[in-house]
Symmetry: D2
Subunit: 360 residues, 4 copies
């Protein structure tokens, strides 16, 4: 249970970090969309391990194979199956994890919930599961781009206490984001952050940070009161990513320090278009997109797997210590950027299709 | 669409702020639970308007009536219908809102999405809709208490920039929370906050703040990887409440300033029980409850309806001004406390029932 | 669980035969549909008890009250709540049923499943539950009529072994159906059937029969392969009605006696429109409507409640006898006709809205 | 959309008859079930083409490969992915179908619905899609067997107008069913039917028939009033199979010729167990299993693809003729038998898991 996301654009992911492979089925993709494996590969490459010195060195090509749902270069309206085979799986690195729970990892809770777990590399809780999300998200992005020119761009805004001073989400470009291995659009700060992460990596430690995401040209009217408010669906989407600890939209937590008079986004007309002067709402009012840019932030904790000795407990209930081995990310942020974009795209695409149902 | 929440403990709310009434259907409540209207009324009274000088003076008794699903004092396993009639509805206060969009309110987006809206008092986007949530949440709380002794307590932690210095979520009591009209367990700070909100109210302005919520005695194993992680469902739940702008679990946004070594929650044994020394995880690891207290925070923006003149636009697209009328909350927090508890209870109850399905 | 039907046009019914009332919430109804209680009452009157000598004499006005979702005569896009209060509930007639299971009724299985049941009049398993379905179906019919001119007409085709010799589902009219209290469009056979049912009623016995239903002007393309084939959804819909024992579409069970050459519906062009010469498919091919009339039949067993002595078992497990009391239908068919129409309408409306989502 | 079935034991199938492969994801399978590819292969072999002279000669091994969800021979509680690659796909046989609609096939409706279709071999509407169902059904059967000793056996009861005179569903064995290539437990009638089908095959024509299915040892209490009645879910399940035209449970269509007194199943005690003397109810009362054997029948039409000339219309709207080519089944029944079993198993397993959620 819990491996399916969305109602009309419905994604089911599968796979463990070690085993036959990982991937996704996308059911509900509209027919006649031009789609090839290359469309998907772009984002998989942004997500894949081994892409730089500040991510895990595990070597996986992560080549997407489309098994169904596409015919002569176009979607059929039937389920699209995407498979990525696992290759560089070194189970032996994980033999100690078979016996000991990694602190702040999913080992203990999976064992408690299921009474069994694939201890090789994290099993289902591995970040490899997000391959299916990113692949499905690439399709959602393509649809949104085609039907409404929607652009979804995420980027690193903070690493530990290093904060990018000025990024304007209204104008940031994918080129700026992709200009460095961290995916931070401020090159100067990016350099500092990369050095810092590299230092942390050498120490065997890890750090977290904040990813900000903007969705531009989002059609007005997306989101369904009352439980399926657009911000609620976005929150669920990104909070289901590994290592996420917080979500905020628009003014977010800082917004509580404003009064209503300061916080309210006054309306004005820009030609025929209803606009707001400020965007504390983050593009959503009453759970429904208002046509302004959707802006959200996600807090990611430092990676749980570290290469330092920690106190823990064994499967049989004895206190012990564990020193992490295996390949790991010192900071999830560079690879989390495409994941956040994917989850935002899945929500917007699903809500876009839903919105089409309400007119008589 | 969007008015149903949960899979196995499934709540559907209905109703606008003006009209025949509001309420909820709860489908999936286990049979043979002792249940009366009094069980529900307790939380409805904590939520209702007119309860103190710092909330809206609208006078509603908000008496819950159970129309179905209970027989001779016990639940039948069939849908429980709860109806609360609307009484003190002064539509005339809202006639100007029929023509002008309130800034940062749902008026404009509902109009854009549906082409029609009930402009009386906020219609479906009114906080009155949460009556159905709180009523259903009271049932969920009763189940959780009975099956596992779960306690869910929310409270005000911050009003604008006034922060309660020390609250220990592990020991805070409902009595402390209910000891003042703000529902802040620190009486001294509560008094300051109440004075401040009262001052803001007299100015016709509004403020927001932060509600913290703890769930204690939560069974291990709740939450379903990968999309239905417990923190993801909790995030969706509370981000679907009116005026919420941010969510965090455990260390949350502050956690990004720690390294992995500092952030990881080391395991130890407390007798037979696997525990963690710290609780940066907020009671959830890998999307699954680990038996530690679940601790989360929700940011609420200042109420959108203020009694000051604001620039806005009319339904016909002309720039104009609007000075709020009608009765409104200067600060949603005291009434948001039972709403947050309700949403947390709905998630935990649904995940609890789901968890029962996985053992052979 | 199990009280919700549909995905985008989503109906949740509630209520027991005795208690505060019965009804439905319709979530997902498109906004701006003109809707009044009168639209719903027409079908409720066709369903209600006491309408003729061949149905139960229980006296209920079954007046529909719309509690939410409609404003100034139009739907808001928010949940529509319809409540019908229970009035003529004589619980005392059922006191013996508190202790003894009625054969072929739901008493024993509800007791086994839930460990509790409302023994008054059938509780949740009462035909009164279908009030919510018929009310929701009336809304679905109105939408389908407005968007595509869809007509849904059901009628009695067989009572016990009395079969109407010739009805052409392609031309039958609602006036013909409503011309007699049985809802059989053949007046001569209807008279015989009515006499027969009346005789059976006087004997305290009961009979079943077959309802046929046609949906005309159904848009091409409704239905979603592979599990949500249109005939699969229709089958589920009508097989969820009380007392239904069989479903068939198009040629149905008789179709197995044809060869492929005889059964296949050859295509031809009628002007610009693709048609089939025969309609053994019943308007559905590959799970998708093909524009021909949808024709289905439902078998209803004889009513379980009879006024004759039967052997049975008590709640405490002792063999005993039971002689039915209370008011009951000697034949469910006249009242099943609007129920079948409602269920067909719910399916078609839901699939119609779904179909709108697939175009880019 | 429409490729997912079930709520807690949730199956999503994928794949077209030509392309990378077909299969299923099973989400919600309880952990710690012993499971290997051999468990699945048994039923796939009963379903596969080329198994005898009365089914399509297409040569496919249909070897199941488990890509995820199983670790060291046991299920993990995570999604189980089963992939069967397509091998003997002769697309050239279908080139004419690219231009012309096969009568009573899904060609025209897929084209109308999606504006595109994979014309190779039926694409998504091909019986190859049922591989995923049968694979998932094999897992469901194993669970049901293990937890309650449930046995599900289907068999051919009628081919065209050849009806097996006596089969007792209460005692029929899998050995009897599998004793001949038709899967009819009456060897004498089976021989006649096989000869008849072979004759029809040589003529290039096709025939249909009726499959009966019994589920024994079904726990009491499965099925969820009111829309998710057990017979409703079973009806949907089997009516979603290719070529099915009718469904009946227990007495079915014949039951309408009995009076209530004749039809009602009187209760008696067999030791401590509540039983019914007759089983016109087919093991289900009020939508809930009563512990008696569940008995249902499914009508299958003659296969649409025949090797005779038929009138039809081209994609461009011109009247033409088509003579079927490609390999096809003259009668779907022998291969439909495991499909019916699978669908029944999927429903029962899902309802079994659901039932576990209702006790406090």
């Amino acid at each position: 249970m819990g491996s399916t996301f969305g109602h009309l654009f419905r994604v089911t992911t599968f796979g463990e970090s070690h085993g036959g492979g990982v991937g996704a089925i996308v059911d509900g993709c509209p027919p006649q969309l031009e789609l090839s494996e290359a469309d998907i590969q772009v984002d998989l490459d942004r997500r894949k391990p081994g892409q730089s010195k500040i991510v895990t060195p595990r070597r996986e090509d992560d080549r997407a194979q489309i098994l169904s749902g596409v015919f002569e270069g176009k979607t059929l309206g039937t389920p699209i199956t995407i498979l990525v085979q696992n290759k560089d799986a070194r189970s032996q690195d994980y033999s100690e994890m078979a016996e000991k729970f990694r602190p702040s990892h999913a080992d203990a809770t999976y064992q408690a919930k299921y009474g069994i777990r694939n201890w090789q590399g994290g099993g289902r809780s591995s970040a490899r599961e997000t391959i299916g999300r990113v692949a499905a998200g690439a399709i959602a992005k393509k649809i949104l781009k085609q039907v409404a020119g929607v652009e979804i761009i995420a980027y690193v805004k903070q690493v530990k206490d290093l904060v990018v001073p000025h990024i304007d989400p209204n104008t940031v470009t994918m080129e700026q984001v992709e200009s460095n291995i961290l995916r931070c659009p401020d090159p100067e700060m990016a350099a500092k952050m990369i050095d810092f992460i590299d230092k942390i990596r050498r120490e065997g430690n890890s750090v977290g940070g904040i990813v900000e995401c903007v969705a531009r040209n989002v059609p007005i009217g997306l989101g369904d009161p009352v439980f399926d408010k657009l911000e609620a669906d976005l929150a669920k989407a990104v909070m289901s990513l590994p290592a996420s600890k917080g979500f905020e939209i628009g003014s977010g937590f800082d917004g509580v320090c404003l009064t209503g008079r300061e916080h309210n986004d006054e309306f004005y007309m820009e030609g025929d278009r209803l606009r707001t002067r400020t965007n504390n709402s983050g593009g959503i009012q009453g759970g429904i997109s208002n046509g302004e840019n959707i802006i959200l932030r996600v807090a990611f904790k430092p990676t749980a797997t570290i290469l330092l000795e920690q106190k823990t407990v064994s499967v049989s209930g004895e206190e012990t210590t564990l020193t992490g081995r295996g390949r790991h990310d010192p900071c999830v942020l560079p690879r989390a950027v495409p994941m956040v974009e994917a989850m935002v795209a899945l929500v917007l695409c699903d809500r876009y299709l839903t919105q089409k149902t309400i007119s008589l």
